[in-house]
Amino acid sequence: MTPTSSDRDPAENSPDQSRLVENLMFFARTLRAAGLPIGPGRIIEALRAVEAIGVGRRDDFYWTLHSVFVNRQDQRPLFDQAFHVFWRNPKLLERMMAMLPPSLTPGGENVDKREELSRRLAEALQAGRATGDGNDGEIPEEEDVEFDAAMTYSDRELLQAIDFEKMSTEELASAKRLVSGMQLPIMALPTRRFAPDPHGRRIDMRATLRAQLRSGGVPALRRRNPRRRHPPLVIICDISGSMSRYSRIVLHFMHAVTNDRDRVFSFLFGTRLTNITRMLRHRDVDVAVDRVAEKVQDWSGGTRIGHCLAEFNAKWSRRILGQGAIVLFISDGLDRDSGEGLTREVERLHKSCRRLIWLNPLLRYDAYEPKSLGAKAIMPHIDDFRPIHNLASLADLTSVLARPGRRRMEGVSRWLEQRNP
């Protein structure tokens, strides 16, 4: 939309600068709560910028704040919505600043805007209003902490253990939020590239000579050692009907992991395989998930694990598993094709990656045994087997990926079986 200069501008009628400051601060906090990375420094910058530009025109004001608060293209829709709601909503204005002229026409455009408001922003605004209620105008700095943390500590503790399947909508929403902040350290492996290291095992001739020349011939050897880096991560997730409760939250998990590091590739499969790597790269989780939903057509349908893995092996494995990737295979192992052709494909997958880790939500039952035909076919070819049904199990993944793991030697065990039947 294009704001006209005849629109009321935030401070036209009010000479009161401190109100504007408050207002800006509130706006910044709202944005922060909605997920934009805005610290106190930015707020000060915004104030300076507004001072410099003046508040004469609404569009100038918009672009001034935009230039300060938005530093990535994908934050723009959120900012746009927040701006228009925040600087126009009469209730907010009355309550929090009472400095703008009472209102704008409750025109259709305005209503539309609010309807399509992203849920996250709505929550953030709500939270902002609640805070504003008690101590109007005077918000102590300490409140920042609470503003950020949507849940208290004990809430989180409880949430950790609840099965995703049994979560209410709100619980699921908070779980998603927790997942999006999750970190997944992967064990770094030595690469063939070197970095300076005083205790390195190799001599860095170039640095040594340069140092020697500088110091005038004192022989001090400079050393270097291989640089370490995490291997690529490939996530292949089942989105069939039996997995539907899990796959949604796993999608959030995949998004968090993708945006946390480079070299992450994500695939979804039900009856066919979809590469969603590019869609998940969008920083905003809601937008990313929407795009994935548009692209994927086999949500909550049947599963053809063997067929999909065959497609992965033929089409993608040579393109992305080349550099010793770790593969997370998320599925319950229930296969519509009853494991047809699955053994071969899982074996091939295992042999072309560094580690194959099977994450299975059914593992939450202590008595679970891989008895389905699909699971039986997968079991002999995986390096690790983990549950994935609540937040705690997701967090547990860390302990698997951050350490060097055992690798199953299929050839050796088969040979041993043949020798000692």
Binding site: T191, F194, M205, L209, L213, G217, N313, I320
Partner: protein, 308 residues
């Protein structure tokens, strides 16, 4: 400087033909554009479809120097761009110390002079050459890692290399750059953007026959037809690794060495390892499947001969 680069797509085709390379018109167009607009040509395709060959043929027919950079993981500036000759530098320092006639500054500027520089492929490629700009082949870029790719960005867009001790060396005219990739890893968009992209596909039957006639002139017409027909059929079967043109040529040569003038099921079974490189694929084709394919090929050739 010699100016013998082609001035039209037809000339490019003729140039490749002179180097015994049978190319599609689309490939010639991409190559012509790359030569004309002096931008790198990025060739992607399955192994054995003749990507590297293009650079070799180009260097040969244009009579340019071929500078080849074979990529591998961990390829760094020291082995791709330049390296100082440390042994000579140290001897020089020692000599200067013994003679005691030079200050530290003069020594410093002395041992970092071009005398002690070992030039690696990228640096060689941007140096001017009386025979015309060289052909720089960056082979199998997907084998290296992202940091090197990022370094290449600078080289490929400005054709200049900065050596801290010497300054920036800039190519007076950009070299002819051919980058190839087997797609074992996705190359970053930023690098692709700087190049003309061309996907080298398997040739159709007509072109493959043409290639075979040029590359293996010793093969009988009947054998060539059957080989091409069989390989074309094979590419329609779901295999893990489809045979490339290189395999077709190898196979024909192998059959000639075995004194075959026509294909028969036994000969196919015996030499299948030349054509297919995965055990699963060989097991799938060997025996009855190969015989069926062969019968189809023979029937098709027979009907084609009857028609005209």
């Amino acid at each position: 400087m010699k100016e013998n680069t082609p001035t039209s797509v037809d000339e490019t085709l003729a140039l490749l033909a002179a180097g015994r390379y049978v190319a599609d018109r689309s490939l010639a167009t991409a190559l012509f554009l790359a030569l004309r607009l002096k931008r790198p040509l990025f060739l992607e395709g399955e192994a054995g479809v003749g990507k590297t060959e293009i650079a070799k043929v180009l260097a040969e027919t244009l009579q340019r120097r071929l500078v080849r950079l074979q990529c591998y993981e961990g390829l760094d500036v020291a082995s791709a761009v330049y390296e100082w000759n440390y042994a000579r530098q140290m001897v020089e320092i020692r000599l200067a110390e013994a003679a005691g006639d030079r200050t530290r500054e003069s020594l410093g500027s002395d041992i970092y002079s071009e005398r002690f520089l070992i030039k690696r492929p990228l640096l060689q490629a941007i140096e001017s050459d009386p025979a015309g700009v060289p052909v720089l082949l960056i082979d199998e870029l997907d084998r290296t890692d992202e940091p090197f790719e990022a370094y290449l960005l600078e080289v490929l867009s400005d054709f200049q290399i900065t050596i801290p001790e010497l300054g920036t060396i800039k190519a007076s005219e950009p070299p002819i750059v051919i980058v190839t990739s087997n797609r074992t890893r996705e190359i970053h968009d930023a690098l692709k953007r700087r190049c003309f992209y061309y996907w080298v596909d398997y040739p159709d039957a007509k072109r493959e026959l043409e290639i075979l006639r040029v590359k293996v002139p010793g093969a009988s017409d009947k054998l060539s037809r059957q080989v091409v027909g069989f390989v074309q059929k094979l590419r329609k079967v779901e295999l893990f690794k489809l045979p490339g043109i290189a395999e077709t040529i190898d196979w024909t040569e192998a059959l000639i060495q075995l004194d075959r003038v026509a294909l028969d099921p036994k000969a196919v079974d015996d030499t299948l390892g030349v054509l297919l490189k995965y055990q699963d694929d060989i097991a799938k084709i060997r025996g009855s499947e190969a015989a069926v394919l062969l019968d189809q090929v023979k029937a098709e050739i027979a009907s084609a001969e009857r028609r005209p």
